[in-house]
């Protein structure tokens, strides 16, 4: 799942190096425009709804965080 999401997001946002940090939000690598873009990409790809409560740093700081959020939302 992690590799799949990394490939998907790297294609969609080539200007962002998702492997450069495990604090992507805290380090300012992801801004709000990119975060909403990621949410749109993941929602469409995996047919999930990412609610507002899920927009917290721990879910967006790394590919691992994103993958576990997607996994959890798919199972719900």
């Amino acid at each position: 799942m992690e590799e799949e999401i990394l490939e998907l997001l790297s294609d969609e946002f080539p200007e962002v190096d998702f492997t450069s940090s495990d604090e992507l939000v805290d380090d300012g690598i992801l801004d709000s425009l990119t975060i909403t873009g990621i949410i749109a990409t993941l929602s469409m790809e995996y047919d999930i709804e990412i609610p507002y409560e899920e927009i917290v740093e721990e879910n967006f700081n790394s590919i691992q965080g994103l993958a576990s959020m997607v996994q959890r939302l798919m199972e719900e």
């Binding site: 200007e15 709000s32 425009l33 975060i35 909403t36 749109a40 929602s43 469409m44």
Partner: protein, 487 residues
């Protein structure tokens, strides 16, 4: 009572004394008492509005259902709308009576809306004690012009009751003096010029308008950021760190960066509570998906940016004022930010095509100047106070400038003297140098504190002396009001 009155200094001394002689667990009560007192100076009937908004938000926090949240937001926004548009409605309906505009309503309304949403979305726990909540809402250093606080971050600081720290109090006082310098020496001196030009605009033209608009940009920055320095300095004396509202915005290279550095707490409020909610709403995502499939991928993607940003900028305009000038002002910024967001990548590629070295200092300075002019364009819409006047100024701004007449004394309007011009020039240079050093990561206050006592006091007394002697005061040592109080 504003920050620039003798009454405020007496009030502050009393608050400071009572705070530190009180035992830690009760210090928040001292802050609440003085915050209520501060508010009462504006009028007891205004306090009633605050109490209603506080009660609404407090109850929504305790019983955070979706229905209560919607009613709570409608209630708080309704009070805000009454304060903002009440006068226009009274006039339109020929009603008698006057509208009560509670002090700081634009700021505390947003802080309680943020609280209700955070509790509903389980990003913070609800407050159990109503008086704690009231303090969060009307804590006096931030009630006039913000910063707009976040409950989760501010509440624990208000309740902690920090020990007295000589160093912290010194730093707080220094920041206050710096704020007074910006307000009294720079902003209020520029106001002599801009007030005359905008007030008697038919007597002037050309370069007078041009300089008045550019100077009004500096005036607004010195006024608003000066007020923030005072607010943050006062709060620092109590050991309570408030959120920064400015990060040297005139060093921004783009309009989007500018808004990440100017009125930061308003920007983050709109980003977190409006932009995000719209951008991730299933309906918009569905629309974006359909547009991607039926029109183009790029168009579908851009919808997720364009629609939320349009809403945010219309609301930002309305927050500043319900008149046509501020609605147009919001549209102006919205169009610029949307263009730079949607076409950002293509615009970034342009310098390469034109073989421009984007890493050169000259290019980066040109970007900063461009941003300053974009900001000044927005000032043209609102600074004169009437869109008709703005249009009048724009039409005549580029008529012959008669520079020789301007520089041979014509620029000295409204009893301004050459000394005023010299003081203004030197003060702006000081502001520029200090900002440049901060931009390089140098912490000015810590740096000065590391100097010998003699040199330190040269700096401290120099700034205090400059503010007292060169500040612009009205009768009774009273300065003009801060610009952002009206919002």
């Amino acid at each position: 009572m504003t920050f620039v009155t003798i009454t405020f200094f007496i009030f502050l001394l009393a608050a400071f004394f009572c705070y530190f002689v009180t035992k830690k667990p009760y210090r928040w009560m001292v802050l609440l008492g003085f915050s209520v007192l501060f508010y009462l100076f504006a009028g007891y009937e205004k306090l009633l509005f605050v109490l209603i908004a506080a009660l609404i938000a407090y109850l929504v926090g305790k019983y955070a259902t979706k229905r209560n949240l919607i009613f709570g937001i409608i209630g708080v926004v309704g009070l805000l709308f009454y304060a903002k548009a009440g006068e226009a409605i009274y006039l339109a309906l020929s009603l008698k009576g006057s509208v009560i505009v509670p002090l700081g309503i634009s700021y505390y309304s947003f802080s309680v809306i943020g609280y209700m949403l955070d509790v509903y979305y389980k990003k913070t726990k609800p407050e159990e004690n109503f008086f704690h909540f009231l303090l969060y809402m009307i804590y006096f250093p931030q009630i006039l012009e913000g910063p707009i606080p976040r409950y989760k971050s501010l509440m624990p600081k208000l309740l902690k009751g920090e020990d007295f720290s000589y160093e912290r109090v010194c730093f707080g006082l220094q920041r206050m003096v710096w704020g007074y310098f910006k307000k009294l020496v720079i902003a209020d001196r520029i106001a002599i010029y801009t007030g005359e030009i905008f007030g008697n605009y038919k007597s002037y033209s050309g370069i007078y308008y041009f300089t008045a608009i550019l100077l009004s940009s500096l005036q607004l920055y010195a006024d608003f950021s000066g007020c923030m320095d005072i607010a943050l300095g006062v709060s620092e004396c109590f050991g309570i760190t408030l959120d920064e509202n400015f990060k040297r915005p005139f060093f921004s290279k783009t309009a989007a960066e500018f808004w990440r550095r100017w009125h930061i707490t308003l920007g983050t409020f709109f980003k977190d509570y409006v932009y995000m909610h719209i951008a991730i709403s299933p309906k918009l995502l569905k629309l974006s998906k359909t547009a991607k499939e039926k029109i183009s991928k790029e168009f579908g993607k851009s919808l997720i940016t364009v629609i939320p940003l349009s809403v945010v900028w219309i609301l930002t305009g309305l927050w500043h004022g319900t008149g046509a000038d501020y609605i147009l002002w919001g549209c102006y910024w919205g169009v610029i930010i949307i263009i730079s967001s949607v076409f950002g990548k293509k615009l970034k590629a342009l310098p390469k095509v034109l073989s421009i070295d984007t890493s050169s200092k000259a290019y980066q300075r040109a970007q900063m100047i461009r941003t300053f002019f974009i900001f000044s364009g927005a000032r043209l819409l609102t600074a004169p106070g009437d869109l008709g006047v703005s249009w009048y100024l724009l039409k005549r701004m580029f008529l012959p400038w008669h520079l020789s007449e301007y520089f041979s004394g014509g620029a000295l309007v409204n009893d301004m003297t050459l000394v005023d011009v010299a003081i203004l020039f030197i003060s702006i240079m000081i502001l520029y140098v200090v900002s440049s050093l901060q931009e390089k990561g140098i912490k000015i206050r810590e740096k000065i504190a590391s100097y010998s006592i003699l040199l330190r006091w040269v700096f401290y007394y120099g700034l205090i002396f400059a503010t007292l002697v060169f500040g612009i005061y009205g009768p009774g040592f009273k300065s003009s009001d801060f610009v952002y109080i009206q919002f």
